[in-house]
Symmetry: C2
Subunit: 234 residues, 2 copies
Amino acid sequence: MLSDVMEDYLKTIYQIQARSGPPVSTSAVADALEKTPPTVTSMLGNLEDRGLVTREKYKGAELTPEGETVALEILRHHRLLEAYLAEHLDYSWSEVHDEADALEHHISEEFERRVAEALDDPVVDPHGDPIPSADLAPLEDDEATPLTAHEVDDRVVVSRVSDRDRDELEYLADAGITPGTTLEVVDVAPFGMVTVRTGSDAEQSLPESVAEAIYVRPATDAAPAGGSTEVSDA
Amino acid sequence: MLSDVMEDYLKTIYQIQARSGPPVSTSAVADALEKTPPTVTSMLGNLEDRGLVTREKYKGAELTPEGETVALEILRHHRLLEAYLAEHLDYSWSEVHDEADALEHHISEEFERRVAEALDDPVVDPHGDPIPSADLAPLEDDEATPLTAHEVDDRVVVSRVSDRDRDELEYLADAGITPGTTLEVVDVAPFGMVTVRTGSDAEQSLPESVAEAIYVRPATDAAPAGGSTEVSDA
DNA sequence: ACGACGATTTAGACTAGCCAAAATTAATAA
DNA sequence: TTATTAATTTTGGCTAGTCTAAATCGTCGT
Ligand SMILES: [Mn+2]
Ligand SMILES: [Mn+2]
Ligand SMILES: [Mn+2]
Ligand SMILES: [Mn+2]
């Protein structure tokens, strides 16, 4: 029914909308998908005709509930695939994203079910991003804040890490920083470099670009430092 | 580089060529892919321009070595996926084909490697079809003959079963007839219906359309009746 | 209030893939 | 040998998705 291309537009609009709220500008979509603005304008027209987005000329687009459901469906596929690849095919968390991007449009609902079952209905992917439920109910907003917004002596737990940059993910994996890791902010230098203590010993200095990809929540008092994987409630 | 569509043409030409030999007619490809003859003529022109097939006008097409390599690559993906779905995601052999068709163009070489590894480099898929090796060396011809070509009292081992028709596969699964099963031909009726004994007790009558989808080889003397999965050499 | 500038849309064009109708060719039958 | 017929190719046209260049809009600074 919907082409791969349309699904990618809807997924992208959803993700921009989730970060910056509507309306989503033509150029933001063009940047994210590496297309030209006229191309995006044209496709937004198609999506509007199909009732998947609403649009105000020269302002931007916003997903309709139908459009959001499609976006959640693709996001569910993507994140289930990431989790499956990591869990059952020995992929590292820096490798899963591209493979999931290629497969997310092509798996059947049956495949989705069986993968979810093999993983026992996971609620987060390897980067800590929430996996939409099978009924595609809207995701609740994320309470996490970027590590760059924190101050010295803050104790925080890593909630999720942006999966956009493979190199950053490898860097963080080496540093032992993954979702669930407890961090203590040791220093915030000019230009946004953040130094954190992981566990009780190792210290890591993170360039701003890396630190702002790490989303964290306040550590609960009793939490020991280290890399557990549990996710607390909101 | 190559589109999904082109890959499907090459795979299809390979399979027709394997059964009937070159040249492969325009209409044979059109039938297999459910396209019109002009569409196929046009695409064969593209494939010829890319050096993947050779063509003689009004006669048909034949894969070049490069075209055959691409076809084997796709076939390897398809059959590895079928094997993986059956082995690790609990698909039945009647379900795997469509899912593999959808995914075969979209997996990475890394995914291919990991799936092959998870399966310990399998040599046949769930239907008994050979899986091309990682180096894509040409497959040797198949010695198996259709069950319809056999006579009463012949004892044979099922080598492979055409995976084209889901209903037939379910029928055969119920009848306990899978690759490796030893059969004894009990009766050949007019209109090609074949009755076989599986194991030492059950008898099954198979309509011609089903019987001609079953490819068999002579049973070695010591082989007991039943559903073992080993594959003998050529 | 107005002009400049950046963002957006419109206009026009291109490719891949597809089909229907018409023309052509090869094979077969008279 | 010639005529019929079936397969194939050619012709022309359609949609989806993309781009460049040109026109237009909205905003922001003066
Ligand atoms: Mn789904
Ligand atoms: Mn992810
Ligand atoms: Mn491959
Ligand atoms: Mn198969």
